[in-house]
């Protein structure tokens, strides 16, 4: 069983194709949509948690590539600007997945981007704007 959070970029021509449906029917993969939108440049963007058997998962990824969907792992997307963060901790109760926590010893804010689902709730509420989105 493999489970990964990935960001899919759909080019304009694929936006109205039932790509995720194929992943389920042909490759027996489970999905959880964490975020989806169409950007002004008419590129579709979707953040998926995708899981299934190893070989099915790999085939599914191959299928996505063959369609022209660009992919990147989710962890690259929300980045903390370490020079800007003041470690106040006002982001901590905002984070729905505990990707942002306070270290009880140092009282510094820890950011575990493996737990981040890129909801971006922390981005605008960060007083020094240290949380940055890089899609």
């Amino acid at each position: 069983m493999v489970s990964k959070r990935i960001v899919l970029h759909f080019p304009h021509r694929l936006v109205n194709q039932p790509i995720v449906y194929r992943l389920v029917r042909e490759y027996d993969l489970q999905f959880n949509i964490l975020k989806a939108f169409v950007t002004p440049e008419e590129e579709g963007l979707m953040v998926l948690e995708l899981s299934g058997k190893r070989d099915n998962f790999d085939k599914g990824i191959e299928y996505l590539k063959s369609c022209g969907v660009k992919m990147q792992p989710l962890s690259q997307d929300v980045v903390r600007n370490e020079t800007k963060c003041t470690h106040c901790g006002v982001c901590v109760p905002m984070c729905p997945t505990e990707a942002l926590t306070i270290d009880k010893q140092t009282r510094k804010v820890k950011f575990d981007n493996k737990k981040c689902i890129a909801c971006e709730l922390c981005v605008k509420i960060c007083p020094p704007r240290a949380m940055e989105v890089h899609f």
Partner: protein, 404 residues
């Protein structure tokens, strides 16, 4: 009993014993207040949080021909400054916004750039764009000015904050069913989170609750450089009810501070954007407490579990000045990450960085130990708890129109 003079002698000889506001807690637990008051000379406190009543004044120098922006207009990177002084003196407030900032018209406004951000860029040594407009006089004929300017080109650049370092603060929550955007951060509906803003056991005025050692003229760490307490801060309210240990249970004392901006650092003056609220400046302040006697150490050793704050609703009560607390919590509970309000477990967030406040305590300790920072004697006390000095709400009165 020790005097500030005696402590300064020790600093000069390199014999001074300095501990941070955190270290003193452990020391007192191990050795007791009497012994620690004999052994320790200075306790360093610190705080690093958003402080809106901050700003800086500048003398930009005279152009050729001369211009009188006094009574005219002046902007730094599009952020308007106050010009109601002589020809080329201006004051830039932390919360000032460019005229074309949409504010909260697109709600919640982002307030990405304001006076605080200009101050941070100036301190970082960046050039900023200065625009001046004047009505022109015989002695100051010029009407317009546009130039790049750097902090090192200015005659004076002085940080002058009229209210900083609040002694204690509210814990903000939202009882309504809509998210609200406040100076205490975004508050999720139905007690979705509880935000507080204090360094607690490190915070300067919480460690000298009756202002015994801090007064007008006290030398402090300000924005990474040296500053002074100029006056009591605005809204200084020492008459707030206190616990037995002297700690006010709600926002109480404040200080106005001043210092040369040119020797400060962008690490300790940070431009900040509060979503839906405005721009503000995070200010780093460190205060040395001279250990004059055992009472001073008793106060300085107060810890988070003995410092209480009030939980206040910011959806209805705060905006409408309806008094009332939803309960009292201590900073130990706040720091644990969750508190119980009305039977509900609520996650907490701090707007004031404890780890940075701790760095300030350590930095000031280093300065004093090295002999670089001599303590000053206050020249006058701050109004104290029994002074009758207090805080008034505005009484509005009708303005009668003159009859024609």
């Amino acid at each position: 009993m020790k005097t500030i003079k005696e402590i300064n002698e020790k600093i000069k000889k390199g014999e001074v014993v300095v501990v941070t506001a955190e270290e003193v807690i452990d020391l007192v637990r191990k050795k007791g207040t009497k012994k620690v008051s004999q052994e320790v000379d200075v306790v360093t406190c610190g705080t690093f949080g958003p402080m809106c009543s901050s700003g800086a004044y500048f003398n930009i120098g005279h152009s050729k021909p001369r211009i009188k922006v006094g009574g005219g207009a002046c902007k730094l990177n599009d952020v308007p400054c106050y010009t109601g002084f002589a020809a080329v003196d201006i004051y830039l407030g932390a919360t000032a916004l460019p005229d074309d900032d949409p504010r909260n018209k697109v709600y919640p406004g982002e307030f990405k750039y304001g006076g605080a951000h200009v101050i941070q860029e100036l301190v970082a040594g960046k050039d900023v764009r200065l625009e001046g407009a004047a009505y022109g006089t015989d002695c100051y004929p010029r009407r317009k000015l546009e130039t790049l300017i750097n902090i090192k080109d200015m005659n004076e650049a002085v940080l002058f904050n009229i209210r900083n370092a609040y002694q204690n603060y509210n814990v903000a929550v939202n009882l309504s069913d809509k998210p609200i955007y406040t100076y205490m951060g975004m508050l999720k509906p139905n007690l979705g989170n509880a935000n507080y803003c204090s360094a607690g056991q490190l915070s300067p005025l919480l460690k000298d609750p009756y202002y015994r050692t801090v007064g007008i003229g006290t030398k402090i760490f300000l924005g990474g450089g040296v500053g002074y307490v100029a006056w009591q801060g605005t809204q200084h309210n020492p008459s707030i009810p206190r616990k037995e240990n002297g700690i006010p249970q709600a926002p109480a004392g404040t200080i106005a501070v001043i210092g040369d901006l040119k020797q400060m650092s962008p690490n300790w003056l940070v431009g900040t954007s509060m979503l839906g609220y405005g721009a503000t400046l995070i200010v780093g302040i460190g205060l040395p407490i001279p250990v004059l006697d055992e009472d001073v150490i008793k106060c300085a050793a107060v810890e988070d579990k003995d410092i209480y704050a009030q939980v206040v609703d910011y959806s209805v009560n705060y905006p409408n000045c309806v008094p009332g607390s939803l309960g009292e919590v201590n900073y130990d509970q706040l720091k644990s990450g969750k508190i119980i309000i009305q039977g509900k477990e609520v996650l907490t967030g701090n707007l004031s960085s404890y780890s940075k406040a701790h760095e300030i305590c350590e930095e000031l300790k280093k300065w004093i130990k090295k002999g670089d920072f001599i303590l000053s004697e206050p020249v006058a006390p701050l109004p104290n708890a029994n002074s009758g000095y207090g805080f008034k709400m505005l009484k509005e009165r009708p303005v009668l129109k003159k009859e024609e």
